[in-house]
Amino acid sequence: MTGAVEPRAGAAVPRRAVPAPRRALALAARAGVVLAERAVMLCALLAVVFAAIELLPGDAASATAERGESAAAAAAHRHLLGLDRPLWERFTNWMTALPAGDLGTSARGEHVTDLLSAPFPNTLLLGGTAFAVTLAAALALGYWGAARPGGPVDHIVGFASTVTLALPEFVVAVGLLLVLSSWTGLLPAVTLTADDGSLASWTMLVMPVLALAVPQIGWNARIIRGALADQAGAPHVIAARLDGLSPARVLLRHALPGARPAVATGIATSTGMLLGGAVVVETLFNYPGIGSVLAGAVADRDTPVIAGVVAVTGAVISLVLLGADLVRARTLGARP
């Protein structure tokens, strides 16, 4: 899904000649087209999910069966779950109920919307915070490194970001657990929830967010650093520097705007990684999010639950990618 937003930083020349109303209209049109594209892709993805689960050995009826179930009971269970109907029919039924917000029923008889109602906001909070932290930290580090190309800070940021982007989330998580919880007792080791299903304390968010964000900060800091370096060679940036403006001003006001498409693309691709990493991080910190729902649902071959998770996360990722597209379009000029 990320292929649609390749960076084209080299072509980044701000266009100021297009009149504003026409530009807004073009942007809206582009957003509409992209949104439709994404919706079609999401549907295709859901079809693939349905088919893929079908290919796994076993089905929801056997995976959630009690050990003592007779063959007749298993068949009845299968019928109850609709697993005796053809795949396309189950898919169509599920898809047609989707616009009404009905995500179906789990293999254990719970409504999927109920299963996701508490975990999904929690994952959005985790992912959203990690996203914000990633963006802020990566911008700061990339900018800091680019301020003096080849300087010691640049080297350190370059090295550190390479190391962290290669770290799997669970390694970061274990390190954080050791230092911040086991040794110092500064932060609670696991996430507990309050009566309403939200987090009992904001401190429980710190380690999961860092575990998710650190590898992504590494990745994005490198992208931002590279994009700023590319911009350094652009004529208007060279001109600004020759005009005697301060390096900080040149970077912020002249180089950064041109680097925006690359930055947006990098951070947008991180969204998928952040939500994917949530599966691991949520388990380690017992964070009550959607990742643990997904992991369990795959083990249970619980197609409606898996498809429900894919649908809501897919929608979020699509929106973020759309945002990135719009940023690009704004910078590069609207070309639907």
Partner: protein, 523 residues
């Protein structure tokens, strides 16, 4: 080999975290004697009233079930349900079956008709009295679930009836001296005619009542009018944990007071913490290797099965697979049963005899035999791997094949020639005989059919006379030891971890761990 990410995480990430934390936790070398829990009402004097117990239990949010008669895949769900609702009978330590909502039971002379008398003055949490009609309705509801036939085997729904206000009559299709055993685990009693949509919040009769529930976590309050006696705690907060390691971390960080069924890896992690109680509940989990006994299997010859049982180094298995948290077993399932035959000589490793038996049976040693295993519970795949190494020393080539859980139950369970399996209910010899070993057992895992065994089983459950029954049970175990398809090398301890302030935790294996009514806090 099919492994999903969750399992990779469990085994790879989980153990990685465990060893790392263990390696870094304090760095002290501790003696191998973990802090031991005091027994119920032990040296610390009389139980104190009050306090909230925060307990962690394993569960997955995708598998949440709130129906007391549903298929509870989550330990956390079962714990909550078992605290809110009472079963007719319950597992006991000295007697295998003790009363719960039923205080007494009596069989007819033919051992088919059983009359259960309900506890006097038992009420639901809303104050209404428990009647035999409520119990009959609940048992019939249980019997009519998909797995009902195995939960109440031999008892048709129509044969569950009320006799007056406080007697429930169960009529079995065949004589069954062990029938009260069947009513211990899932006979949760709800009010008659509770609609399905209200089942999750329906009042129970248990020692605690539901205060709130959200996404697998619950808060329960003491039931001051419990028929079973004094309950000490004010409240219990149950938190669901996806991984045992996160649960152990929460305990070490003081976020919970008890980590229920945390397992040996977590116990090892906390071993540097002297203040954490490691409560070992022996005979908790059986992890047998199953050899198919039916014709066409390489293990059809009983001599081959005996040889394989002689090949395994049981001490090494317990030490390495269970980190020492377990005991050596003797190829008889149901080790916690008071009727377990302790006098049958322990089978030991004897490679010479094994080779001789294999030779006599013309066992093909040039072939490689696949041992199918899963990573459903910690240590299971490791047990298969270690066994394969040990078998190689006897010249048997064993290749371990890991299957993902759903694939295993779809393709291998009940069908395969050679696989590992696990059972969490180990307090009854008869349970295993009836469920997995008699010829027509629904879950005859080894495809076993042995006339003498079947006869001993029928005698054991159809004899009212105690000593005659004991004799039959002994004979049954002797045959099982000699030639069944089960290689049971050891029994894993159930391991609960607890803060030093927690007292009176249950010591029972398996589902007995949920009996928290006598727990109290000393803070």
């Amino acid at each position: 080999m099919n492994v999903n990410r969750r399992q990779v995480l469990r085994t790879g990430g989980g153990i990685g975290v465990a060893t790392l934390l263990a390696a870094c936790g304090g760095g002290r070398k501790t003696s191998s004697s973990p802090a031991d829990a005091d027994g119920a009402g032990g040296a610390d004097g009389a139980p104190r009233k009050g306090g909230t117990l925060r307990i962690g239990a394993l569960g997955r949010s995708s598998a949440i079930t709130r129906d007391p008669h549903g298929n509870q895949g989550n330990e956390s769900d079962y714990l909550i349900i078992a605290l809110v609702y009472d079963t007719l009978t319950a597992p006991g330590l000295k007697d295998n079956t003790v009363g719960r909502l039923a205080t007494g039971w009596k069989a007819s002379d033919d051992l088919k008709t059983w009359r259960f008398t309900l506890a006097e003055g038992a009420t639901f949490h809303d104050g209404s009295p428990v009647t035999a009609d409520d119990v009959v309705w609940s048992l019939r509801r249980l019997r009519n679930t998909p797995a009902g036939a195995s939960r109440l085997p031999g008892i048709k729904a129509a044969n569950i009836t009320a006799d007056g206000k406080d007697v429930v009559v169960l009529v079995s299709d065949y004589p069954n001296a062990e029938l009260p055993l069947l009513t211990r685990l899932s006979t949760f009693v709800l009010k008659k005619d509770t609609p399905d949509k209200d089942v999750a919040t329906a009042p129970g009769t248990g020692p605690f009542k539901l205060d709130r529930y959200r996404s697998g976590n619950a808060r329960l309050l003491r039931n001051d009018h419990w028929h079973g006696g004094q309950v000490h705690l004010d409240a219990i907060e149950v938190t669901m944990f996806e991984s045992p390691q996160a649960m152990a971390n929460a305990l070490m960080g003081g976020q919970i007071d008890v980590a229920s069924n945390a397992g040996s890896v977590a116990a090892r992690t906390t071993s540097s913490r002297k203040d954490i109680q490691v409560i070992r509940r022996p005979n908790d989990m059986a992890m047998p290797i199953v050899m198919r006994t039916a014709q066409g299997s390489p293990f059809a010859d009983p001599r081959v099965r005996e040889a394989v049982k002689l090949v395994v180094d049981r001490e090494a298995m317990v030490k390495q697979v269970l980190s020492g948290y377990g005991t050596v077993a003797n190829d008889i399932l149901g080790t916690a049963d008071p009727a377990y035959a302790k006098d049958i000589p322990q089978r030991k490793r004897d490679l010479g005899k094994a080779r001789k038996l294999l030779g006599e049976a013309n066992f093909d040693l040039s072939k490689t035999y696949e041992l199918i295993t899963t990573e459903d519970i910690p240590g299971l795949a490791e047990s298969a791997a270690l066994f394969a190494t040990q078998a190689r020393e006897a010249g048997i080539k064993v290749e371990v094949v890991k299957q993902e859980s759903a694939a295993f139950y779809d393709k291998t369970w009940l069908k395969g020639d050679f696989y590992t399996n696990y059972w969490g209910t180990n307090d009854s010899v008869v349970f295993f005989a009836s469920n997995t070993m008699v010829t027509d057992a629904a879950r005859n895992e080894a495809g076993w059919s042995d006339k003498d065994f079947d006869a001993a089983y029928r005698k054991a459950i159809g004899t009212a006379d105690k000593s005659a029954r004991a004799k039959a049970l002994h004979e049954l175990q002797q045959i099982e030891h000699e030639r069944s398809g089960y290689l049971l090398w050891g029994m894993a301890d159930g391991i609960d971890l607890a803060a030093p302030t927690v007292h009176g935790l249950p010591r029972l294996p398996g589902y007995g761990r949920v009996q928290l009514e006598s727990v109290w806090l000393s803070r």
